[in-house]
Symmetry: C2
Subunit: 330 residues, 2 copies
């Protein structure tokens, strides 16, 4: 609950790896041509070659800085908001910071926030809460590489995910023209096992568990996830909108996490939402974990589907299992 906290997105930037895979992905993995678009809703996606999380994040951040009137020295805080990391130590924000031009001259803090696919929402809410006369400009970067954690035998996941980075500069809005109306995040522990990269951590340390695509790849129980989301999402959203003065039917734009084709379809159907209101990028970027929501938001800002003053709902689900939403006046 954060009613009307002044916060304004003043600049945005994105970075997409050069390599674009469309039907060539299907050819590569012996998947019938057209399967991906039909089943996953993804026509094409960008995948890294050697681009790292830090490299992509710094590129997106640089683009946001270049699009703004801000110099890097004005940044008060850098948040890396996502699930991907280049190294186990140090944290990802420090790595991103080290790759932003001239950032080494300024000692603003670099912190990581991770709620997997909802990380950008968590970071935005955090920024709104810490902003004051001392912390005025926050750089939020969601840089995600999913492609290194996919199992080519699992068509559902290999066709779904993409790599991307998105960055926004948010500022304390003295004029109170832009603000966070409300944020909410709930974690439903009964869904903790539905979405997983099992290995690579302390439960199955790499030292004792050599690479095995079954252990070290992303796995999801798609049907169970949809079932859980279909039960909890309407309850969540009903309560979310209470006392806000808004309803889901009268917000200007909705930016959902680009989780899956079926997830987006069911969400639109649940509230009879039109394609003009709900912004989608799944078909061209795939599911980019935490980068999906800001990337989709940025796309809509860039092509002016979202305009200043619009009431926007950013909403999604994440591994854990969590549901999160932000309602903002852009």
């Amino acid at each position: 609950m954060n009613l009307n906290k002044p916060i304004r997105i003043t600049a945005v930037g994105k970075f997409l790896p050069k390599k674009v895979l469309s039907n060539d992905l299907e050819k590569k993995f012996n998947i019938p041509i057209g399967w991906s678009h039909k089943n996953s809703g993804v026509k094409q996606r960008h995948w890294t070659n050697n681009e790292t999380v830090g490299f992509m994040g710094a590129k997106a951040a640089q683009s946001a800085l270049d699009n703004s009137n801000s110099h890097i020295k004005e940044i008060d805080l850098l948040i890396s908001a996502g699930a991907s990391f280049d190294h186990i130590i140090p944290n990802q924000a420090s790595v991103i910071k080290s790759q932003i031009k001239n950032a080494e001259q300024y000692n603003f803090p670099a912190i990581d926030l991770n709620t997997t696919c909802l990380s950008f929402l968590t970071a935005f809410q955090y920024a709104a809460n810490v902003m004051n006369e001392h912390t005025k400009k926050v750089l939020i970067v969601s840089s995600e590489v999913s492609s290194k954690h996919l199992n080519e035998d699992n068509w559902e996941t290999i066709t779904l995910f993409g790599d991307a980075a998105a960055a926004v500069i948010v500022e304390y809005d003295n004029n109170n023209e832009s603000y966070l109306i409300k944020s909410e995040h709930r974690t439903y522990t009964n869904g903790v096992d539905l979405t997983k990269i099992e290995g690579g951590g302390i439960k199955k340390p790499f030292k004792f568990h050599p690479y095995d695509k079954n252990i070290h790849s992303f796995q999801m129980k798609g049907k169970n996830l949809l079932k859980l989301a279909n039960i909890e999402l309407p309850i969540f959203l009903d309560e979310f909108f209470k006392n806000t003065g808004y309803k889901i039917k009268n917000v200007d734009k909705i930016i959902p996490h680009q989780a899956s084709k079926l997830g987006l379809l069911l969400f639109k159907k649940m509230y009879s939402l039109s394609n003009e209101v709900v912004i989608e990028t799944l078909y061209k970027y795939g599911n980019c974990i935490a980068a999906s929501i800001p990337l989709t938001f940025i796309d809509a800002i860039e092509d002016q589907r979202i305009k200043r003053g619009d009431i926007c709902l950013l909403s999604g689900t994440s591994a854990g299992f969590s549901i999160g939403s932000l309602l903002i006046k852009y």
Copy 2:
């Protein structure tokens, strides 16, 4: 900068793995007996067998809940504050939450904050900032397993690190008896390469880089770290105390990160601080990454070296390279 934000630690809990290694560690790895205490300052440390980050974190959290008047249903937010994780996905807080008794009945959010060794300070500051009439009780858990990432050929690190979990419940303090006087965190990018677990992330994915103790173990350039800390720490602390009404010489207790024997010695020498003021647990727990500061704090609370009303400085350095401090009235 967070002058006098009401926040009160109302309960604490810790968990230490059963296995304690003292001289037996040196025997196991053919290190001369006594080398660890002499060089690393560590007489003994706890190491996990199969205990996971989630298991330890949930145990510490349960202990804090048992020591409090709080029921799990009153918790508004769970923060996992640390660098260790059981799985790459989902986030660690969701895993910890799923292992706390009855937590599955309540949908409070579970989020991860990672600034490596400073994560607890970042989480405490975050909690102080988000607390209001809706978010009144926050459970912060720092659960760290370092022992699976150590290289037995590197005596400096194999003798230094321990495994542990610490948890605190912090509450909005209506009476304003306990508060956060100030927090500050700075990231010095010129130190980004001084502390690392290089592999296991996107830079060198498991898929293409089989286990290699040189790549997948914790590495630090101890001398360079101390050099950087010796330059930046006094500048940081001088500026930190400005306008607080306090000086480092007149705080009641100092809880430093238990980074290393030499680091602690140099810090005490820098400000001529006594062993009564500076709390140390390095000798018995080792460096437990983000768990070190709360664990040391909890030890001092439990044996009444820290009392209600004490002005406490929590301070340390972390990979990245960062320096962070909190000044609180306990």
